[in-house]
């Protein structure tokens, strides 16, 4: 299978979108339990982004974001990445730690306390774990998440890891993109599941879809 967009058929895309739907649905449920409030998810999308465009896809390569990442090993290899702007990160911290929202500013990174960062990491861990467990159960594949990693930096730099992975097999990256909302407010703006090419074929094959057709 090739992750160039013209090589992925309609049915394959539908199946992958359903995978993203199931994963994000479970992540939403986990987040809802963690924050004790209703969480809705958007219709997930499978997006194909040319490598050069990846850093610009979330509002400019040098925009500063908070990123949480889980590495995935087992039958599936890849990454689960959550990208938050500072407002979203602060809102999650305030919900998890039950305290007022801090003033957010671009250089606000250093104002996150150790406990704040820990709360964010744990949110990434719980949601990512739910997302990946759902995929594992649905496909019967082994999907092991790493410990969560947090990083606050330019979005382009943060997404390099996904670009490098995708770049090994083609000139496009395939992202499973989902958004989570509470009362129409974006809680998690961008959640990406980025499997490598081989894993994507394995996921499709596990569901009886032949990738070479």
């Amino acid at each position: 299978m090739n992750t160039n967009p013209d090589r992925i058929g309609g049915i394959q895309k539908d199946i992958l979108r359903e995978i993203a739907n199931i994963g994000a649905g479970h992540a939403a449920t986990a987040l809802s339990a963690l924050l004790e409030r209703p969480i809705e998810q958007s219709v997930p999308d499978i997006v194909f982004v040319p490598l050069a465009e990846i850093p610009n896809m979330l509002g400019g390569a040098d925009k500063v974001v908070v990123a949480g990442l889980l590495g995935i090993t087992g039958d599936v290899f890849g990454y689960l990445i959550m990208i938050l702007d500072f407002e979203q990160a602060n809102r999650i911290i305030s919900m998890v730690r039950d305290k007022p929202i801090q003033n957010s500013e671009v250089s606000g990174f250093h104002k996150f306390s150790v406990m704040d960062k820990s709360a964010l990491s744990e949110t990434v861990n719980i949601m990512g774990g739910s997302y990946l467990t759902a995929i594992a159960e649905f496909t019967g594949l082994k999907v092991y998440p790493s410990i969560p990693c947090l990083c606050m930096d330019m979005v382009g730099a943060v997404l390099n890891i996904a670009a490098a992975e995708a770049g090994k097999t083609g000139d496009y990256a395939m992202f499973f993109q989902s958004e989570l909302f509470n009362n129409k407010e974006r809680i998690i703006g961008n959640m990406f599941f980025v499997p490598d090419e081989e894993s994507c074929s394995k996921i499709l094959e596990s569901l009886g879809c032949n990738c070479n057709e």
Binding site: L51, A52, E53, I54, P55, N56, G60, A61, D62, V64, A67, L69, G71, T73, S107, F109, S146, I147, C149, C151, M152, D153, M154, V155, G156, A157, V158, L159, N160, I161, A163, A164, E165, G167, K168, T169, G170, D171
Partner: protein, 161 residues
């Protein structure tokens, strides 16, 4: 004066007074090569270390350190630069996330840097300054007129190498 963006897996050659920049380098490496006398310079935004690992696929050559730097040097010579005067500067190659060893991409920044260095050495081009490694992203701006490479970090601190 014009300023051109050099995105992932791209390269560009310009003459003074134009500038080149790459935003948000993580594990990617920006390699600036220039001829100070002719005031011609180029920048390449390297994503992966070696094209030899991926022979089968039909890849863009500028995605890789080895093939990309060769292409950039050829392009510079074609534009009138002298191969013997070429100097290089590079920045990037960070490890943004502290992942376990099981994830090979964690080392990609380091491997990019090693491959850039080897390729430049084989071409006989000296690296006169560099800002590499660490765990922070970089934005770089290359001024062909002066040969200055400005490196800006996320906290807006800046250095010129």
């Amino acid at each position: 004066m014009n300023s051109y963006a050099v995105d992932i897996a791209m390269m560009k050659v310009v003459r003074s007074p134009d500038q080149l920049y790459s935003l948000g380098l993580g594990s990617c490496v920006g390699v600036a090569i220039f001829d100070p006398a002719m005031r011609i310079g180029g920048l390449i935004h390297v994503l992966l270390p070696s094209s030899l690992e991926f022979e089968k696929a039909n890849h863009v050559r500028t995605k890789f350190a080895d093939s990309g730097i060769h292409d950039l040097v050829n392009e510079l010579i074609k534009s009138g630069a002298s191969k013997f005067r070429l100097k290089a500067k590079m920045a990037g190659g960070a490890a943004m996330f502290t992942l376990q060893n099981a994830m090979p991409n964690n080392m990609i920044g380091k491997r990019n840097v090693v491959s850039c260095r080897e390729t430049l050495k084989n071409l006989g081009i000296d690296i006169i300054s560099q800002d590499i490694g660490g765990n922070k992203g970089r934005t770089i701006i290359f001024d062909v007129e002066t040969g200055q490479l400005t490196v800006r970090m996320v906290d807006r601190s800046e250095k010129i190498i």
